[in-house]
Symmetry: D3
Subunit: 263 residues, 6 copies
Amino acid sequence: MTQNVHLGELSWPQYERWLSGTNPVMLLPVGALEQHGYHMGMNVDVALPTAVCERVAARIGALVAPPLSYGYKSQQKSGGGNHYPGTTSLDGMTLTSTVRDIIREFARHGLRRLVIMNGHFENAMFIVEGIDLALRELTLAGIDDFRIMTLSYWDFAEDPGLLAELYPDGFNGWDVEHGGVFETSLMLALRLDQVHLDKVEDHPPAQFPPYDVFPVIPERTPAPGTLSSAKEATAEKGQSILKVCVDGITAAIRHEFNPMRAD
Amino acid sequence: MTQNVHLGELSWPQYERWLSGTNPVMLLPVGALEQHGYHMGMNVDVALPTAVCERVAARIGALVAPPLSYGYKSQQKSGGGNHYPGTTSLDGMTLTSTVRDIIREFARHGLRRLVIMNGHFENAMFIVEGIDLALRELTLAGIDDFRIMTLSYWDFAEDPGLLAELYPDGFNGWDVEHGGVFETSLMLALRLDQVHLDKVEDHPPAQFPPYDVFPVIPERTPAPGTLSSAKEATAEKGQSILKVCVDGITAAIRHEFNPMRAD
Amino acid sequence: MTQNVHLGELSWPQYERWLSGTNPVMLLPVGALEQHGYHMGMNVDVALPTAVCERVAARIGALVAPPLSYGYKSQQKSGGGNHYPGTTSLDGMTLTSTVRDIIREFARHGLRRLVIMNGHFENAMFIVEGIDLALRELTLAGIDDFRIMTLSYWDFAEDPGLLAELYPDGFNGWDVEHGGVFETSLMLALRLDQVHLDKVEDHPPAQFPPYDVFPVIPERTPAPGTLSSAKEATAEKGQSILKVCVDGITAAIRHEFNPMRAD
Amino acid sequence: MTQNVHLGELSWPQYERWLSGTNPVMLLPVGALEQHGYHMGMNVDVALPTAVCERVAARIGALVAPPLSYGYKSQQKSGGGNHYPGTTSLDGMTLTSTVRDIIREFARHGLRRLVIMNGHFENAMFIVEGIDLALRELTLAGIDDFRIMTLSYWDFAEDPGLLAELYPDGFNGWDVEHGGVFETSLMLALRLDQVHLDKVEDHPPAQFPPYDVFPVIPERTPAPGTLSSAKEATAEKGQSILKVCVDGITAAIRHEFNPMRAD
Amino acid sequence: MTQNVHLGELSWPQYERWLSGTNPVMLLPVGALEQHGYHMGMNVDVALPTAVCERVAARIGALVAPPLSYGYKSQQKSGGGNHYPGTTSLDGMTLTSTVRDIIREFARHGLRRLVIMNGHFENAMFIVEGIDLALRELTLAGIDDFRIMTLSYWDFAEDPGLLAELYPDGFNGWDVEHGGVFETSLMLALRLDQVHLDKVEDHPPAQFPPYDVFPVIPERTPAPGTLSSAKEATAEKGQSILKVCVDGITAAIRHEFNPMRAD
Amino acid sequence: MTQNVHLGELSWPQYERWLSGTNPVMLLPVGALEQHGYHMGMNVDVALPTAVCERVAARIGALVAPPLSYGYKSQQKSGGGNHYPGTTSLDGMTLTSTVRDIIREFARHGLRRLVIMNGHFENAMFIVEGIDLALRELTLAGIDDFRIMTLSYWDFAEDPGLLAELYPDGFNGWDVEHGGVFETSLMLALRLDQVHLDKVEDHPPAQFPPYDVFPVIPERTPAPGTLSSAKEATAEKGQSILKVCVDGITAAIRHEFNPMRAD
């Protein structure tokens, strides 16, 4: 596949031509700049959905819009908390407005099928609100055929076989998968040079009470900022995850949006 | 226990006296006006956390602030979707601003311990944002000892014994517990006259793909608007839930905030 | 009267059936959490319009939506000022957004007749702005038949006979009627147990200059927080007020909206 | 009196010198662009408070800031309604933000005494909110000595002698004084050439029910847009009003703010 | 020319009659309250575009709406910086909202041709955003023939002959023309009594690096607050500028909007 | 130079170590997704400042934060207009809020020196407003040593020698340099494969009147969307520009912020 999947690298006439296809699908990765422990950089949550988008796009002739690199505030029980240096987050309304504005513009172009691929748990509801505000406005404008799929890519990895491969000793749940085996394996598969496995601290999964306290009590997050150990991460596991997610998301988009191109 | 737990029924000197105690704790229920199937009214998500708050307050000498009766937009996979008649929701920023404003005022009064008890899944992140905006402002005002616990009461029901009692045939997960056995049992225990078990439709748990599509496709929600069947709901189960939740939340607040009154 | 007038206690199919009537009317009480002196709780401004709404609804087959329990900031010359402990107020835009959002949702349901019943003087203009923003949006959506009546229930008590009964020594004007004979009598009629007449301080009506100063100078408010004495309040006066207001408002709604049900 | 009272006509060093006085007072007129019947222009609500400010400023050595010429939406029962051509109004939050921003800047300059003189009934609460937002921010900045007086100039005309002179046949209340004897007399005294008494339509005072309906029903406003007849307006009456208001406001400011200059 | 060009001085029926013409054009001056050195008042940026508007309006039968007297924050390299006492600026969103609201109202009146004449460099982009937000809303309302011209009046003075007359020793560029020969000459021509040439400090043009630093370093602005010397300003030059600008803008409006009246 | 300049690729302890240096400087590129003619992709305005940032960062030991890939709406006279397909822009307040939020977070980390490098003309004022809102808030938080430099990289290319090399036939001004020789040469030097010189249309520089009209009249933009011809663009010119800009910006940052590392 040699087609350029990056919207930003197309000229406007190329984009216009692409838009004239049948059910063209745009993919928008939404991530975060958030600490991911001692062993990885802070762009994990944007790098991963972007990589998934690129692979999905190549399969279905979609385009990938420039990712949103800043996300909503890290929460202690899913991302360690927003008190770490480096974690750089937006107010909820800022993220919501960004999503709303981009949808409005895509609709003006004539696009009618959008997939928002989330890579940062905390973003989900603010993306939903951005979608709702945008669709409300589009409805007022008489546009009622704009359809949006929104997903967090890890929700496609709920395959029992995959989970058994990733966690031979048992899965601890997505909630502690911040900087753990899942994300680290993916980074090993995709950006090997940015992972420093020697820095992984092998701590037990974080345990949290069934509530949140604000201001966050920093000591409740394991010191590295990760919520489970990445010790068992491997590039092979990353490839397996990638395959399952890309396959699943590709199938889902085909099912919902039926875009123009066969694989 | 004869003390009035409702903030709204106290005069301001009574409230001022209460505030002079040790670590006084205010409880704020946040709910929604949302359809809950054929067999229940639409105030379930506010009635339930309010009832839990009243019981917890009586145990620890807390007060219950007037509940927020309107919440964030119902999502298909947790609440059936916002397209039902009767479901009456706020924009995210409206809910966030409301939470922020109320915290600001409580801080002005001299309160320093607040529990926000959520009864509607979709509210959670907008409450979090309201808390963050308020605490940011309080910090600027030199107030750095205001502490907030936020929780969804059902997160205290994760007890294996309780789940076994509630779901002898196996638990389907919280995500399909909209209008199902859990909420209906609680309503039977608390507001028997508002539940019409004869209207319950015994449908299998809703099944959703690992993504969301907007605009929502109404047919993907079971017709009644519930996500699982309430057929096995009983008032006894409701009493069990209530006990576990009230006990757990009471203990959690005592642990975190150490309020003034013994039981 | 056996019909349930509370929207929150209806299931969505019940609500849908109600909506299919002729000119169905929804009533939305908007109040405040505001100190009302030594002798009453702080929920007076929401309890009273809610009670009026319930009685009016029963007469005309209307429904009462969950009240808004928090209102705009108390002003010194009408509510004693926002500096009292317990008074818990919203920013203007928060109240306005709440009203706007709720109207938008009611319109989505198919409702076309709404009465907003205000119980807190300071709310009035922010309700008006919420109505204007909502109707502007509805107009863009092609909905031009949504009609809203907004009122403060005490404006229906301007009957000379009633005023003579309430104030045999002469009426001091609505502006000092915060926590005075009017509101206290209504509370005596409706929530006897929440009024402590022994706590009433018999002070002369507050006198204010023809301007406001900010920050408020607390000493300019009579110490109890009330603006006139409630000493002459009686439950009988409360019943008289209630009758006049309910009759008047019922007639007004029938005149403007002509709803489906005879008394 | 030869001193220039207009802030906009001073150079910044002149302003700085003025600020170094004792308790210097700034006056900010806030008006509207709103129809005022067949016989007057639409700038009445800004022209009148500006004229009062100029006279008061000359008496106490105050300055007059550039007036706000656009105000909040005209209401039917106080201004005829916002449906008239020419009436050009702001959203509430726009007016509130403007007031907040200007106060913030005055505080930065070192000013600590501000009088906001309102000329348009509908503005009042949005001015109050702008004041509250500004003072909240100033408090965070450690500025706690900024004092603001806000008033509507006509509230100083409640003198029985004056009312008897203005309305020998009885006063109908401020609510119908839109474009009537009061405002028209003032305009005759101040801007004779802009009043066309021959266009006055001699209609009885408008009568409104004790509620508002939206969208406004235009027919409920007397056709000219005025709420009472200006037929008895005279320049002499205008001079009397002006004297009473300027005297009263001057005294009030001296009483509250004690500015530097004797008369 | 005896026609009144000020919208605020017309009654609504006069305005309505004017609107019934062919392509009636409204002019809205947008300025600032900003220091302009030792020798001029702070209303220069609003006085000048208002004066231009009045002259243009008289030529083409346009109306002048009340000017916006407060603008966006002064920038060091174009206005000396926002740290001077007296400079009184709005947040960007406040100015944007004001422009949006006024356009919305003009559209409701039936106006379809608006010229926004800017007198303060820093306003330009916030005006543009106000226009965009308003036109977006008008489009949703089905109004697609509202046309807006926006300009800064000095952009019509780029005539080589004029520049040679104004700056016989060479033009230093618009960026340092804050309080210099250009604006001062115009003020001399229009408001002679408000200019104090004896206060002019004859400093060389300000020199700035190709970047901005925040917080502003006050010393980088020439002490008077002007960015070049006004020493060579004369009323004759002001008349020349005025003629060129008024001619040019008149021609541009005629070209674009073709309003009803010949000169 | 082997140090990683990308903030997103550092772990939080690496970032914390970097922050402990002397005057560490963060660089934030702000661009746009905007059409750039037939011959280039739409990411030019973000790719170019990012590339400049990377080179500057390597020279002074700075870090480059993830760029903002979406900017303010394209204007006809500087970017061709926002009506082209592909151009995907944010509302002004969205961009402003994003900048504000990111600065707030950097300040929390302990950073005190930030350079915002703009690559899209239309962004400038909304960045300025974001800076102002952030610094206002930081001041309230007692942080008064956060310094920000903001610049558009092309403002460092005003070197006469460079302009002579780039435009041997004379420079037409920055305003028509959208997609012309300047940007295209830079892209040739940096992303050769993304430039298609064969698609360049050799049109004369765009000519615009001294005003803007909205809605934009598309025909006034040259058909390709560029405002001048890129025909004479070469990679060598791009290298020259890059050198001048990187040198100049490096020197400016050293001058203003004096960061820790020698070249």
